[in-house]
Symmetry: C2
Subunit: 320 residues, 2 copies
DNA sequence: ATGAAAGCGCTAACAA
DNA sequence: TTGTTAGCGCTTTCAT
C-alpha cells in the first residue's frame, strides 16, 4: 500500500478517491501501530503548523490564565494548538520567546497588552492580533474599558461621591491610559474636576498600592472614593485604609478592576469591573483564524463587554 | 555560496571549517534579509525540536504560573522553548493537547500533579518527568510536603492546639494524599487521634470550602485549628468562621497551603506552607534536559523544599 | 482507485 | 575551506 493512499485516508481527504475498504484497513493498521503523523514533516510540506502563539505580560495573573483557556478551547475546536509565551518569563520581555515562536512557524500570533515585541512585527511574519490594545494597523480585540469605568463612576456618583480618586498602575500601556481618560471624562461629565490631587500612581503590586494609598488617603481633603486600575491595587488600598483606621465602605468606597478570584475574598468583598477573559481569548482566536484563512471579511475590530459587579466595598458618601 | 556553508555558520559550527571572512559575510547577509532558519525543516532533519511541553491542571492558579516561569527561564537559558498545556483548557483533560504536543515533536514532557494523560505515556514518546507526583517508574520532582505539613503541625501543637482538623480537597491526587498522611502522622506523633470527626472534604473552590467549613465548625467538640489543603480553601474557611461569629485566630487558627498572593491580603493574613514554584519549574526542566541528552547520571528524583510562613491566622489555643 | 515521484528547507557526510 | 548530495516524512500532482 502506498504512502499517498495512507496520507489521503489519515488526513480525511479519502472520500471518493480511496475505496472504503482500503480506508478502513489503513485506519486499523495506523491504530494498531500507534502511528502519529510527523508534524514537522507536515508543517514543512504544507507551510502551516496549525499552531498559534499567545503572548501575555504575566501568566501569574489569573486573568491571563482565563484568556489562555478561552484561546485554547477555541483553537482546539478548530484543530489548532495554542502556544503560550509569558513575556516576563524569559528575561527578555518576550523577545527571545517570540523569536523562537516565529521560527517555530506559528500560523498566527496573539499579543496581549504589552508593547508587541519587535520580533512579532517583523515583516513576512504571520498575522498578528492585538488584545486590549487599540492600534491603527493591526487587527485588535479590545475591552470596553470606557463602558466599564463609566458604569463604576456612575455607581459612585449615584452614591453621592464627588472626590473620586484614581489609583493608577504606573505602567505606560494603552489599557491604563484608557482607564485614566474614562475616569476624567466621567468626572467632567458630572461637572467635577479631575485634578492631580485625585491621582496616585504605583507599581503593579499590592505593597506599592498600600504605600501609595497611605499617601493618597492622607491628603486634605481626603477622597471619599477610589477607582483602582486593578483588584490587586484595590487590595493594597484596602490595607492602606485599615492602616489609617478608615472603614470601608463607611469612610471610603473602593472599586477594583478585573474581578479576580480574590475580589470576593477580600474584607469587604470588592466592587469591581469585570470582563469575560475567556471570551476575550476565544474571540481573539476567531479573529486570527479568519486572517490566517485569508477571509475577505476578516474582522479588524472586535469588542468584549465589561460590567460592574457591585459587592460591599462601595457605599453612600459618608456624612461628616 | 552554498547552503552548507550558510548552515554551518548560522548554527555556530563554523569554527575551523569556514573562513572568518566568509562567516561574517553570511551573517551580514542573513541579518539584512531577516533570514530565519525554518524550524520545521530543522526539526524534520535533526529529529529534535528543542521544545519541551508542560502540562498543568489549571493555569488560572498563580502557582502554576510561577512554575511555568521557572520552566521557561531555565529552558530559554538552554536554548529550549516551553509549550504550556492547560489540562482543563481543551475540555478533554489535556488528552487532545498532549496528543497535539507529541505530534509536534516535543523533546520532553513535564506533567504536573494530574493523572498523566495516557497520550503522554504511550511508548516511543519523549522522556517524561512528573512534578509533585511520586511514581515508581518515571523521574519525578516532588515537593517536601511532609516537611511542610510537619512544620505547620508543630507550630499548631506548640501553640497548644489538640483538635487540629484537616480541610481536604476532594481530589484523588497523590499530592493531597500526602498532605493527609502527614497530618495524621503528626497527630499520632503527639499521642493524638486523627479521627474522621476532624476531617472535612470539599471541592477545590472557596465556596465549597465555606460550606464544608460551616459544617466542620458546627461539630461538637469544635476543632480549635484547621489545616487546609490550599490557600483558596483556607480563604473559604475564613469566611465560614466569620459566618459563625468565630474570630481568627482568637477562636480558631487556620493554616493554608501554597502561599498564593491572596494569602497576604486576607483578613487576617494567612499562615501558610510555602514552596518555591519557580524553582520547581526550573528543576523539572533541568531534569528532563538531562534525560533528553541521555546523561548517564540523569537524576531520577529531585526535591523542592517547603517552609512555613507564619502570619496572623494562627494563635494560641483559646482558653474556654 | 491506487501508485510513483517530486520537493518543502534544512543538516551532515563526503568530495573536491 | 567550500561545494555536492542524500535524505528527514509528509502532501500532492500526475500517471496508471
Amino acid at each position: 500500500m502506498s504512502q499517498s493512499t495512507v496520507s489521503l485516508v489519515l488526513s480525511g481527504k479519502a472520500s471518493g478517491r480511496v475505496a472504503a475498504a482500503t480506508a478502513d484497513l489503513v485506519r486499523a493498521a495506523a491504530d494498531e501501530l500507534g502511528y502519529q503523523p510527523n508534524a514537522a514533516a507536515r508543517t514543512l510540506k504544507s507551510g502551516a503548523s496549525r499552531t498559534i502563539g499567545l503572548v501575555v505580560p504575566d501568566i501569574t495573573n489569573p486573568v491571563f490564565g482565563h484568556v489562555l483557556r478561552g484561546a485554547q478551547s477555541a483553537a482546539t475546536a478548530a484543530g489548532y494548538t495554542v502556544v503560550l509565551v509569558d513575556a516576563d518569563g524569559d528575561g527578555t520581555g518576550g523577545e527571545a520567546s517570540v523569536r523562537a515562536l516565529r521560527q517555530t512557524f506559528v500560523d498566527g500570533l496573539l499579543v496581549f497588552a504589552i508593547a508587541p515585541p519587535e520580533a512579532a512585527l517583523a515583516p513576512g511574519g504571520p498575522p498578528v492580533v492585538l488584545m486590549d490594545m487599540p492600534d491603527g494597523d493591526l487587527p485588535t480585540v479590545t475591552l470596553d474599558l470606557k463602558g466599564g469605568v463609566h458604569a463604576a463612576m456612575e455607581h459612585l456618583l449615584g452614591l453621592g461621591h464627588e472626590r473620586i480618586a484614581h489609583l493608577r498602575a504606573d505602567i505606560a500601556e494603552p489599557t491604563f491610559a484608557a482607564r485614566a481618560a474614562a475616569w476624567a471624562r466621567a468626572l467632567h461629565g458630572a461637572g467635577l474636576d479631575a485634578g492631580e490631587d485625585l491621582v496616585a500612581r504605583c507599581a503593579f503590586t499590592h505593597t506599592a498600592a498600600r504605600a501609595a494609598g497611605n499617601t493618597l488617603l492622607a491628603r486634605d481633603p481626603r477622597p471619599t472614593a477610589v477607582l483602582c486600575d486593578d483588584d490587586l491595587l484595590a487590595a493594597g488600598l484596602l490595607l492602606a485604609a485599615r492602616d489609617r483606621g478608615l472603614t470601608v465602605p463607611g469612610d471610603l468606597s473602593v472599586v477594583g478592576f478585573d474581578d479576580m478570584p480574590l475580589a470576593e475574598l477580600l474584607t469587604p468583598p470588592l466592587t469591581t469591573v469585570r470582563f469575560d477573559a475567556q471570551a476575550l481569548g476565544g474571540r481573539a482566536v476567531d479573529v486570527v483564524l479568519a486572517h490566517i484563512r485569508g477571509d475577505e471579511d476578516a474582522p479588524r475590530r472586535a469588542w468584549i463587554e465589561t460590567s460592574l459587579v457591585v459587592r460591599e466595598s462601595t457605599g453612600p458618601l459618608p456624612r461628616p
